[in-house]
């Protein structure tokens, strides 16, 4: 590359840049490693290291609350990921490959959830569900309850947009003459989509789905607003515990959550390989707050 010519190796500036970078990496990773290390601390008191053990992990698996919250999280995450991936991919295709009236409005509608802070999103959905349930109560005489259903509906609402943005970026990169070539070679619209478009945007769809999964497993604010009593996801449960203080059990649960996130990164890298890792993540999620 020509880069080496731009910055002469081993100049003082270069050394400063390198030092800054390693400090940033230390800043990124020190807390993470510390957390992982502490989760293996046998002592009840987080601040005092005694000996290594996995006792908090086994305790975690015996805690019904944790396991129930985990189960809820997995249900919500898989349902919302599945539906938002379908809807978001369709949204991306209609925005990138078709022209229709009202498209600009629709485009805005798809983008807006990304730039709206999740506190606002949470407030919106809380008020909406409360109103909607009153109306349903008035019409049918029975009132639906807040729970896993409302959480999933809410997660789909913010995930559609992120999936759409990621898939759309991929579609925009796709040479549209490939789809024309398929049509030219006697493929119907559906066949062209099935045999050419879909396989080629699959990395984007997978990336979008993983982003949706991550956001769903990360969300605290929206979920705690629309969860209602009884239905708690793992992040909301952990958030509740964490506000009260630091315990070795939380460290263990946190480490498991971190490990899950990292597994998702690896899977996503696997899907993105050869397609430019950063292309997919240029559209940043703003959902976690």
């Amino acid at each position: 590359m020509t880069i080496a010519a731009g910055v002469r190796p081993k100049s003082p500036i270069e050394r400063l840049l390198a030092a800054n970078s390693w400090l940033v990496y230390a800043f990124f990773y020190a807390p993470i490693f510390l957390l992982i290390a502490l989760s293996f601390n046998d002592n009840e008191n987080v601040g005092v290291w005694t000996s290594a053990s996995t006792r908090w992990y086994s305790e975690m698996f015996q805690q019904d609350d944790v396991m129930r919250a985990l189960r809820n999280s997995l249900i919500v995450a898989s349902v919302s990921t599945l539906i938002s991936t379908l809807l978001g991919t369709a949204a991306a295709i209609s925005l990138e490959r078709f022209r229709f009236r009202g498209q600009r409005v629709y485009d805005g509608l798809v983008y807006l959830p990304i730039i709206i802070p999740d506190v606002t999103m949470a407030v919106m959905l809380l008020l909406f569900f409360a109103q909607a349930f009153n109306i349903i109560d008035g019409l049918f005489g029975s009132k639906p309850a807040f729970g896993l259903g409302t959480i999933s509906l809410a997660h789909i609402a913010f995930n559609i947009s992120f999936v759409a943005v990621v898939v759309r970026a991929r579609l925009a990169q796709l040479d549209s003459s490939l789809e024309e070539a398929a049509a030219d070679l006697y493929a119907t619209r559906w066949q062209a989509f099935r045999y050419v478009t879909l396989p080629l945007i699959m990395p984007g769809v997978a990336g979008g789905a993983l982003l949706a999964l991550t956001l769903s497993l990360d969300d605290v604010v929206v979920t705690s607003f629309v969860a209602g009593p009884g239905a708690t996801t793992l992040p909301v449960y952990v958030f509740g515990l964490v506000r009260r203080g630091v315990t070795p059990l939380i460290n263990a649960v946190s480490t498991v959550m971190l490990a899950a996130s990292m597994a998702l990164v690896l899977i996503s890298l696997f899907f993105q390989r050869g397609t430019g890792t950063v292309a997919i993540t240029e559209e940043e999620p703003l959902e976690e707050t």
Binding site: A182, D184, L185, P199
Partner: protein, 354 residues
């Protein structure tokens, strides 16, 4: 000869932009037809309408006598070779070539056989299981060709298919394409902005500009007898001299010289006389000009050596004329500032009505 593709009054508008303007065109069966023009002239839009990627705003488009203006691409008996080749990156060469037959639900055994035969034809059988990205540009080009031809279309549409290749390969492929077309006997409609390409390969050429089809004719006809300034200028180098029509057989140049040149313009109409640089011959001022030839005196002000030819700029009463003389032992080479006479035979001049 039957008409393979026939466009009648075809117009295509993109919003306010008139891309193709009332186009009338018949392409005969088995013909190698080129649409030639600068970028943005509407030639690609015309091709895309024949392929079915765009629908005309008005007009009629028939393929083998059947109205097809609004049929989707998959219902048309035509195939396209794309400028970017548009090979499916997630399929092997074999799968790419067999795609159309699979979509047409041809029996798998037949597909395998036809794919093999077509790959043989373009000499790529040995790369059948490679992926497109593993092939060179020239090879990808052949695959694109094979993928279209394997379907035995009635018309093959080619959108600047050689544009991405380097000069040597492009020239080789030109001959190969022409050869192939004669062997398979399929109608080729070929879009290009490269006049050499069009002249080399085509049976007929249609020159387009600003959405209009300006002139249709054989390569020689187009080159030797352009009917408009645009066509004259776009194809090759040409000298243009303003003149006035005298009668149906002659025109008068600005310096009063009357030239023999047949034309249709009414007397008194101002016209342009167009002469190709290679149709000029240079003589010494004292040389005897063969009878029947027109001539004009001038001075060499520039000489460019091109290997096979010398290009002279000669300053004359009619303006600067470009003269192309072959670099051969018996052709005299003139120095800069030498006085010369530029001479041509009447048949070399074409009269363009402005």
């Amino acid at each position: 000869m039957t008409d393979s593709v026939k466009l009648t009054g075809v117009t295509k508008r993109f919003g306010d932009v008139l891309a193709v303007d009332d186009l009338h065109l018949n392409v005969a069966d088995g013909e190698f037809f080129s649409l030639l023009g600068p970028s943005g002239c509407g030639k690609t839009t015309t091709l895309r309408m024949i392929a079915g990627f765009e629908f005309p705003t008005s007009g009629s488009l028939t393929i083998r006598g059947q109205e097809m203006a609004l049929n989707p691409p998959n219902e048309r008996p035509v195939n396209t070779v794309f400028q970017s080749y548009a090979l499916f990156p997630h399929m092997t060469i074999e799968e790419n070539v067999g795609f159309g037959l699979r979509m047409k639900k041809v029996a798998p055994a037949d597909i395998a056989q036809r794919v093999k035969r077509t790959l043989d034809m373009v000499q790529l059988s040995h790369r059948a299981s490679a992926s497109p990205s593993q092939l060179s540009g020239g090879q990808q080009q052949r695959v694109a060709l094979a993928r279209a031809l394997v379907n035995e279309p009635q018309v093959l549409l080619l959108d600047e298919p050689l544009g991405a290749l380097d000069l040597k390969l492009r020239q080789a492929m030109q001959l190969e394409l022409k050869d192939l077309q004669q062997r398979v006997g399929i109608t080729f409609i070929y879009v290009t902005h490269d006049q050499d390409e069009a002249l080399t390969m085509s049976d007929r050429i249609g020159v387009m500009s600003d959405g209009k089809l300006l002139q249709v004719g054989g390569p020689q006809d187009i080159y030797e007898h352009p009917r408009s300034r645009f066509v004259a200028d776009f194809i090759g180098e040409i000298n243009l001299m303003p003149a006035v029509a005298v009668d149906r057989d002659s025109v008068k140049l600005l310096d009063g010289q009357v030239l023999m040149a047949p034309h249709d313009a009414p007397a008194g109409r101002s016209v342009t006389v167009a002469i190709r640089p290679e149709r000029f011959t240079l003589f010494r001022p004292d040389a005897e000009i063969p009878s029947g030839r027109s001539s004009i005196a001038g001075k060499v002000i520039r000489r460019i050596y091109h290997g096979d030819v010398f290009l002279y700029d000669v300053d004359t009463a009619e303006g600067l004329l470009e003269v192309k003389e072959e670099n051969r032992p018996n052709v005299e080479v003139f120095e800069i500032d030498s006085q010369v006479v530029v001479s041509w035979s009447p048949s070399a001049a074409t009269v363009i009505e402005d």
